[in-house]
């Protein structure tokens, strides 16, 4: 099992957001987590990535055999967990190139690999950028500064491609995207699917699932997963709505 979440409970600003969430993800699987506003979707992504304003009050999360909840955010990333942000952050004054190189070398260092110098890094990043159809100027601009919503998400996909994580959590990365940007995100995910890499797609909409076919769909409702199934759940949500499904579960 790549990730084993058992009865996870968490609060943010003293408000309960996860109330006994259980989720198991095997290597190579794609899981979609759907739910209404306020169900705890972003909270789950935040807790797994280690956002410090969230307090875990119960339960456990084991990632590749290690206690995830004991790890710093950077240690989680170095161990192979990647969070694609709902709102990627702008960092004025730090060039995207410097950021990407620093991140890649930090992850490599944690794996005991030597740092890539500027030349090696440039080659590596060029490969990944051409796979994602990204323009050169992406590197010289400051991190996400002045990027459109779609460009920010593409930049997150580039980071994902560079760091080659084993678990990618996409936190509503599809919200607010036009169709081209959505396809770019889907293309990034599909290009990276492999038997030893898993994805958790946290989404409010079914749109992304038209482009990335998940293995399992979970319905998150009031901080717990109330139902799991296949693509048939999408139609059921359309028909009945979350409240009815949760009441029946």
């Amino acid at each position: 099992m790549l990730l084993q979440v058992e009865n996870l409970q968490a609060t943010v600003a003293d408000k309960e957001v996860l109330r006994g969430l259980t989720l198991n993800i095997k290597a190579g699987e794609v899981h979609a987590i759907m739910g209404p506003n306020g169900a705890g979707k972003s909270s789950l992504a935040s807790v797994l990535a280690g956002r410090e304003d969230y307090d875990v009050t119960g339960g456990s999360a084991v990632f590749q055999g290690e206690d995830l909840l004991e790890m710093d955010p950077e240690a989680r990333a170095q161990a192979g967990l990647f969070l694609a942000f709902q709102y990627p952050v702008e960092i004025p004054g730090v060039s995207n190139k410097l950021f990407l190189q620093t991140a890649l070398n930090a992850v490599r260092a944690a794996k005991g690999l030597p740092a890539l110098d500027m030349f090696e890094f440039s080659q590596f990043v060029q490969e990944k950028m051409s796979l994602l159809g990204m323009r050169q100027e992406f590197l010289t601009r400051d991190v996400n500064v002045g990027f459109s919503g779609g460009e920010k998400k593409r930049n997150d996909m580039l980071q994902m491609a560079l760091l080659e994580p084993s678990l990618c959590i996409l936190d509503e990365t599809d919200s607010g995207l036009d169709i081209d940007a959505l396809k770019a995100v889907a293309q990034g995910v599909n290009a990276m699917r492999s038997p030893d890499r898993s994805f958790v797609l946290v989404t409010h909409y079914q749109r992304l699932l038209e482009y990335v076919a998940p293995d399992v769909i979970h319905i998150l409702y009031q901080g717990r997963i109330v139902k799991s199934g296949g693509m048939e759940l999408v139609a059921q949500i359309e028909e009945q709505g979350y409240d009815a499904i949760a009441a029946a579960a």
Binding site: A77, L83, V89, A103
Partner: protein, 430 residues
């Protein structure tokens, strides 16, 4: 009253001690008119002028109590050890090196082989002394203590492509060094002028610069203050701009236990433009005080200022900037931005911008921001595997570096970026 009394005594004591030391030193100097007369006048003025106290608005946040306790010496000593070259200077820079308050010709570029249009005179007897400011006793102390200087003249129409670098280096403990520089950039000329002040434990370093930029001349002035962390630094830099003149001024200030720099820019000609930016890293118990006075005296001129203070430890970043637009200086476009980044709970920023406008139809703006590191940015970097201390360093260094992003001398720009990152390393330990 009882509290401030001992301070005043310490200041007055220092003044009488220093007066005797300066008078003694001056008596050993050979006749060097007109500097000699000016030093004596300034020394007399120094004894008469009120000394700064925290009760004075201009000195409220920049406390000199410990300055008065220092023991300084005015006697100069020649170079006694190998001088470490200043980093960041381009290979082809014309170098004027001052060590221990004296010009060091053996370390400097030969002054008889300068590019056409550039003349430099480092004879003290040739110096046209710069006056002190009547409201600033420390500037009188600086004039009274002048031991070296240079007259740098760029002839009309000369385009000097090699940067002219003036390095003031201290290698002796507890020494006073006061250097005056007069720079004239002639009509249609252009030049890049670098000033570096460095070294010297427990010293008192004083600089005065008078920069005159003639019609349609362009001058880039880059100043790096990197004195020892036990040294006091005071600088006064005045620039005047004639019609169509351009000044690009960039300052990196990182050294000293207390550093106070005053920049006066007077725009005397139409369509002139002054662009000033400062990057300050204040850490430990440092005080960095930047003061600007920008005077618009004519039509249709522009001034832009950006001052960025990264403040950690128990350090204090002080800014006072005023823009004065004279009657008739219509169409002035002036702006001034100050940003403070507070890296620790004890770090302090005191910023005071001021506008005085007596003209119609002007565009003048000022803004001050103060804040901590953005934790969302730090988390974003950490979520990509970057350790927390490194994430904090990246973001805080970028903040200060952004003020100096367009330094046109690449070698110096790179070194400045490194210096900022190195200094900030101690502020971001988690």
């Amino acid at each position: 009253m009882t509290l401030s009394q001992p301070l005043l005594n310490a200041a007055d004591d220092a003044r009488s001690r220093w007066h005797a030391l300066i008078a003694n030193w001056l008596s050993t100097q050979s006749s060097q008119a007109p500097v000699e007369a000016k030093r004596l006048e300034a020394l007399a003025a120094f004894t008469q002028m009120p000394l700064p106290t925290p009760r004075h608005e201009d000195w409220k946040y920049t406390r000199l109590a410990n300055l008065w306790k220092q023991n300084y010496q005015w006697e100069k000593a020649p170079v006694t050890s190998e001088i470490i070259p200043v980093s960041g200077l381009p290979e082809n820079a014309i170098r004027l090196i001052f060590v221990n308050g004296l010009f060091a010709p053996e370390l400097s570029t030969a002054l008889n082989a300068l590019p056409a249009g550039l003349t430099i005179n480092t004879q003290l007897s040739a110096l046209m002394p710069i006056d002190w400011q009547t409201d600033d006793a420390l500037s009188a102390l600086a004039v009274a203590s002048v031991s070296a200087g240079a007259m740098i003249n760029i002839a009309a129409n000369a385009q000097i492509s090699q940067p002219i670098a003036v390095c003031v280096i201290g290698e002796r403990v507890s020494q006073v060094q006061s250097i005056q520089l007069q720079v004239t950039v002639g009509k249609n000329a252009s030049a890049t002028f670098i000033e570096v002040v460095t070294g010297a434990e427990k010293g008192l370093m004083l600089s005065q610069l008078a920069l005159s930029i003639a019609e349609n001349a362009h001058c880039c002035h880059l100043f790096w203050q990197d004195v020892a962390d036990t040294t006091y630094y005071f600088g006064w830099r005045n620039a005047t701009l004639a019609r169509d003149a351009r000044l690009l001024q960039r300052t990196l200030s990182v050294g000293g236990i207390l550093s106070r720099q005053q920049y006066t820019v007077t725009i005397q000609g139409e369509n002139a433009e002054a662009d000033t930016a400062t990057g300050v890293v204040a850490l430990g118990k440092q005080t960095h005080d930047i003061r600007t006075h920008t005077r618009h005296a004519c039509l249709n001129a522009r001034s832009r200022q950006l001052h960025r203070f990264a403040i950690g430890g128990q350090a204090n970043g002080v800014f006072h900037g005023d823009i004065y637009v004279e009657r008739g200086a219509d169409k002035t476009d002036a702006n001034m931005a100050t940003n403070n980044l507070l890296l620790s709970p004890q770090a302090q920023a005191n910023s005071k911008p001021q506008l005085e406008i007596y003209a119609d139809d002007v565009r003048c703006t000022h803004g001050v921001t103060s804040g901590n590191l953005d934790e969302a940015q730090i988390f974003y970097l950490r979520a990509r595997g970057i350790p927390e201390s490194q994430a904090r360093l990246l973001v805080s260094a970028a903040f200060a570096q952004a003020a100096l992003a367009d330094v046109p001398v690449a070698e110096l720009a790179d070194v400045w970026h490194e210096v900022i990152a190195q200094k900030l390393q101690q502020a971001v330990v988690v």
